[in-house]
């Protein structure tokens, strides 16, 4: 199992990325930046509790999952900027990073819709006899939305191998006075809860994933996050105290990251925007001949004509 130091290191990357991109968002350099809202430790720990062939369905705030799976800061910043190197071709808005190779699904901006996709993928894996497990992340308010109901219900019916993880804001009272975990019973799904500290998350997600893999069905896990005091700071203090690293080493680690971020952002902003024609790519699968549908081709041509002198 991953150790806390590994969790810490990934979470710090996510945090420093947040701090940097928040500046660029405020300055209007990028559209906006959905930050981790101090849940990065939970997301990283949940990610590391899985096997690499397991699938993650993040919300747009959960870039920490991608980072924990090895996405470089530069790759993520390219995405946030939406430049020519953006893995999403400048199509997806910030936070919609997705990677089939890393088994990170395309996050939905409509709160909770990705949860139903997650159930479907888990179910498909099970139908195909695979041992893959799915982790679906959400913020507790998403439990009010319609697709939470569909997703957990279908998971209960199909016994799909999935862990629904609610990042519950422990500082906000639920309305009505019902915890997310209490909703599991409505769907015949096992529920569980733990505090937002990474050791607990590693353990509870690990256990829920083990059950799912063993064919014991879905779990609705409620992670109760306290955002004050900053949980990342608390972990840092604990690791320092344990001697996992020294102040100096941590400082050096962070400075290295800041330099990496500096390089990543400078590079990302220096890159050109995607080509004009990229607007029409990935609408449909490319046809054998590479031709666009007639109506799309006409629109491409009209855009090109309006931007005749534009080198893009």
């Amino acid at each position: 199992m991953a150790d806390l130091l590994e969790v810490y290191r990934s979470a710090v990357r996510a945090r420093l990325l947040d701090e940097r991109l928040a500046i660029h968002a405020r300055a209007g350099h990028i559209g906006y930046h959905p930050d981790a809202a101090r849940a990065e430790l939970v997301v990283v720990a949940a990610t590391l509790a899985l096997d690499r062939e397991d699938w993650i369905f993040p919300t747009p705030r959960d870039h920490a999952a991608a980072l924990a799976r090895g996405v470089s800061l530069e790759r993520y910043v390219d995405h946030a900027v939406g430049n020519a190197d953006d893995a999403l071709g400048g199509h997806g808005s910030p936070g919609m990073f997705a990677s089939r190779a890393l088994r990170i699904a395309s996050p939905s901006v409509q709160v909770s819709q990705h949860l139903t996709h997650a159930t479907g993928l888990a179910w498909a894996a099970r139908l195909r006899g695979a041992k893959e497990v799915v982790l679906a992340l959400f913020d507790e308010t998403a439990a009010d939305a319609g697709d939470f109901h569909s997703a957990v219900n279908f998971a209960g019916v199909t016994r799909a191998p999935i862990v629904f993880l609610s990042k519950t804001d422990g500082d906000e009272a639920p309305a009505p006075d019902v915890e997310v975990r209490e909703k599991a019973v409505a769907y015949g799904v096992r529920d569980d809860e733990c505090a937002g500290d990474p050791a607990a998350v590693l353990e509870h997600v690990g256990e829920a994933a083990r059950r799912a893999r063993a064919g014991e069905g879905p779990t609705l896990l409620e992670v109760r996050l306290r955002k004050e005091p900053d949980p990342l700071e608390a972990l840092r203090a604990a690791l320092l105290h344990e001697g996992a690293f020294t102040e100096e080493a941590d400082f050096a680690f962070r400075r290295e990251l800041l330099l990496e971020l500096e390089r990543a952002t400078s590079a990302a902003f220096a890159k050109p925007a995607p080509r004009l024609e990229s607007l029409f790519e990935h609408l449909y699968a490319p046809s054998a001949e590479g031709a666009l549908p007639v109506h799309v081709e006409a629109q491409r041509a009209s855009l090109r004509a309006a931007y005749r002198e534009d080198p893009r």
Partner: protein, 324 residues
């Protein structure tokens, strides 16, 4: 080769695709043991088992949403919606998710699936068993929309739709399901998406019609033929992407065009087809492009035949357009 109705033809296409590609799964409300409200999936459960012919809870958003995840994994789900009228609980999943899944992920993920649903009126089903929602999906970039008018086309188009790499809405004219029989090959075959068909050649007016209304257009054409008006009829078969070239070629010949559809007029597909023709063949138009459609009201229970653009309502527009 034997005489088959559309229910049988679609059932065969599903069976062939499932047999030749084990990624194809059928899912929906009562599609398994019951074989679907219209019995289109009959026998599939027995043949392929509950892992590939899946009865789901009553929740269309859940059906399409889980199908998106299944497609992302690599399956080829073919969800059924009992009536197209019940597609709206799944609208967000279709329009915000399935349609944009490939685009928004820069091609990291795709969403190959075929959503089958019966459309159209004429069975006295009233407001919620009669609607024709194709325009909603044509307006949503990233989808393809198919509507066959006969068993032969239905079988070949469904095979193509299932083999397609992108989400396809496959609308089945329920009034045609058992009303039309024709020779349909027993073996599998495909008809490419995006290719229309000239159903009847003529000189004076082009009519574009699909699904159940094609037969009304034909009846109207017969009627006006007696009055010396010769009508050419085009069935686009795939509504989107549209075989516009075929329609434009016809209009270049006739100089006149009428579109017929069941859906309400305002922002219906008729407006799009006709505006495309105005853009492409303006100088060929000898009369205003015209439409005969359902009215801009909900679908009524009692007066459905008055609401529908049946031959009786098509004829005057054909004559007016021809004599303009």
């Amino acid at each position: 080769m034997s005489q088959k109705n559309m229910v049988k033809a679609i059932n065969e296409a599903l069976r062939h695709e499932m047999a030749s590609d084990d990624r194809v799964v059928v899912m929906g409300e009562d599609v398994g043991k019951v074989g679907g409200v219209f019995r289109v999936t009959e026998g599939l459960y027995d043949e392929f088992g509950e892992a590939r012919v899946i009865d789901t809870p009553l929740n269309e958003g859940g059906i399409v949403g889980t199908a998106i995840g299944m497609a992302a994994y690599g399956l080829r789900p073919v969800p059924e919606i009992q009536f197209a009228d019940f597609i709206f609980p799944a609208f967000d999943q279709i329009v915000s998710e399935a349609a944009k899944y490939r685009y928004r992920s820069g091609g990291e993920y795709a969403c190959p699936m075929v959503i089958r649903a019966p459309i159209g009126g004429g069975i006295r089903g009233g407001l919620y068993h009669s609607q024709s929602p194709e325009a909603f999906f044509i307006h949503t970039a990233g989808l393809k929309v198919v509507c066959p008018s006969n068993p032969y086309d239905a079988k070949g188009l469904l095979a193509s739709a299932i083999r397609d790499e992108d989400p396809v809405l496959f609308f089945e004219p329920k009034r045609v399901y058992r009303a039309v029989k024709m020779e349909v090959p027993d073996e599998a075959y495909t008809i490419p998406l995006g290719e229309g068909r000239v159903v009847r050649e003529g000189e004076h007016v082009t009519v574009v019609a699909w699904g159940a209304m094609l037969y009304e257009a034909i009846a109207a054409a017969e009627e006006v033929a007696a009055q010396g008006v010769s009508v050419e009829i085009v069935d686009p078969r795939t509504l989107w992407p549209l075989d516009l070239d075929l329609i434009v070629r016809s209009v270049e010949k006739t100089g006149r065009i009428v579109v017929v559809h069941e859906a309400p007029k305002a922002c219906g597909f008729g407006a799009e087809i006709l505006q495309l023709v105005s853009e492409r063949a303006f100088l060929h138009l000898a009369a205003p492009p015209a439409r005969v459609t359902g009215f801009d009201t909900p679908f009524p229970y009692t007066l459905e035949n008055e609401y529908l653009p049946l031959a009786r309502r098509i004829v005057p527009t054909l004559l007016e357009t021809a004599r303009y």
